[in-house]
Symmetry: C2
Subunit: 294 residues, 2 copies
């Protein structure tokens, strides 16, 4: 039988009632209103289907590397990448794919020598500042869902090399690469590549298909034997698919109030597991939320 | 027949001689004198032999987490880990191994409730400062080969969660974990875990064996089916092996002139591939050099 609770004990009960549960980044993502999400155009999505059955979806960044992105779209549409493989997987660095040293001619619409789209003008970009120091640039923050480094004084901005960023393989400067050979970052952010390579996008779905591949044993992570190269069945744009077969993705608007809260909580984890919130976060540890359209 | 070279032409030849090749981080590692290398004691090396044939070598950090490291040594020596597996692989985060929710009793020498060795006193540590801002702590640098964050004002230092760092799995606070369940970082540095978990070491050889494992599909990257767990044949200390079978590793003394140069070049890549040196580097992108004893 339940005993009568004297006032003191009742007071104790109140004191012992659970404190409001601290908000997690996942809570903010789950609770963000529809208005906080922006749909990615199907023409900005490059899809790799692997022979293993895995799928890798890449969001392209035409606002940062328009000529390289135009090349990538032309390469995809023309079927240039028939027979492409992942031929380089270097631990804590990159997985790289394409035709690798092919002399196949470029299809129509490909600019063979694109400009160095390593930075773009800061002007015209609406930046949500990270709010913490960045060792690689005077400023760091987010523009339209992308992590960027920038200089107000220099007037430039660049897409940052974070986990899952996709860049354009190239030879030594002044070559900038066409986009025929691409890599995705599969380790700690190699930010020293910022402003030295054209970043053209990021993997938004299926990065684990690349990051879990066997590491190549040759210099720079190339596979020793071509038989080890990982076959890619197709590389195409989402916009090439019939509407019914398209996957629709959204990213969290980095200008939204939801993202502002998300960023604040990423820098100050207070949920059950955490005892000491960091009070800061680095650009590549924020991870702009991306989801399939619900 | 070799023509006579007039002075002007000879001058031209000198002008056309190749400029001295910019030094790379690898050049500095290759050229560092023997005095720049420090041998790791065999009792500080934990070796995982995987059933696949892969080997993972971990350097333990008794100067930072002495009770947890003593536990790990006792667990290894007692054969506690017989039957251990890697049961959790979460992309861009951690691979975790042990017996996972076993009720096997702790062997002799294991402290069941270790203190929270999340930080240690800064006093007594000789720090080589990183020289660039760190968003996670007032200071960042290197102590005895380890990347550390610290506060001169607070008087504390902690091992940073970088790629390949090894930490102790635990339940919610105040539990600190015994060391029976360990994880290695296989993605971008999760520095928000700093000062919330005991870091006990780092993988110095074979991290690719962990980072290339299939990702678990359950919440937090646990494998769905126990049959997917990756078998570990043995976990032991290098010091338990006969002297002839021991692998000997060295790390670059972070107090050495070689490391000072290495750090400077990591922050300012000028070799052929690089057009714009970053002028900075983050703590976890420095990668203290480790090698097999030549």
């Amino acid at each position: 039988m339940r005993p009568f609770l004297p006032i003191a004990a009742a007071g104790l009960l109140i004191a012992a009632a659970p404190a409001p549960k601290p908000v997690t980044p996942n809570d903010i993502v789950a609770g963000a209103p529809a208005s906080a999400w922006i749909q990615i155009p199907a023409d900005d999505l490059l899809v790799l289907e692997l022979k293993s059955g895995g799928r890798v979806v890449i969001q392209l960044a035409p606002d940062f590397a328009p000529v390289h992105v135009a090349n990538i779209r032309a390469l995809a549409r023309s079927g240039y990448w028939n027979g492409a493989t992942i031929y380089r997987v270097q631990d804590n660095y990159v997985a790289q794919w394409g035709l690798n040293e092919s002399d196949k001619p470029w299809p129509a619409g490909v600019t063979a020598k694109p400009p160095a789209e390593y930075t773009r003008a800061l002007k015209g970009l609406k930046v949500r500042p990270l709010g913490f120091a960045d060792p690689y640039a005077p400023g760091a923050g987010f523009v339209g869902g992308w992590p960027v480094a920038y200089s107000a004084k220099g007037g430039w901005a660049n897409l940052a090399h974070c986990y899952a960023s996709v860049g354009v393989g190239r030879d030594l400067s002044p070559d900038t690469g066409t986009g025929g050979e691409l890599y995705a970052v599969i380790g700690h952010a190699p930010r020293h590549l910022d402003r030295n390579i054209a970043v053209v996008g990021r993997v938004i779905d299926g990065i684990g298909e690349l990051s879990s591949l066997p590491r190549g044993t040759e210099a720079l992570g190339f596979y020793k034997d071509k038989a080890q190269n990982v076959p890619i069945t197709s590389i195409g744009l989402m916009s090439e698919r019939p509407a019914a077969d398209r996957l629709v993705y959204q990213y969290m608007d980095t200008g939204s109030a939801s993202f502002a809260r998300y960023l604040r909580v990423r820098a100050n984890r207070k949920d059950d597991f955490y005892i000491r919130p960091a009070g800061g976060v680095d650009l590549c540890n924020v991870n702009v939320p991306v989801r399939r359209k619900p």
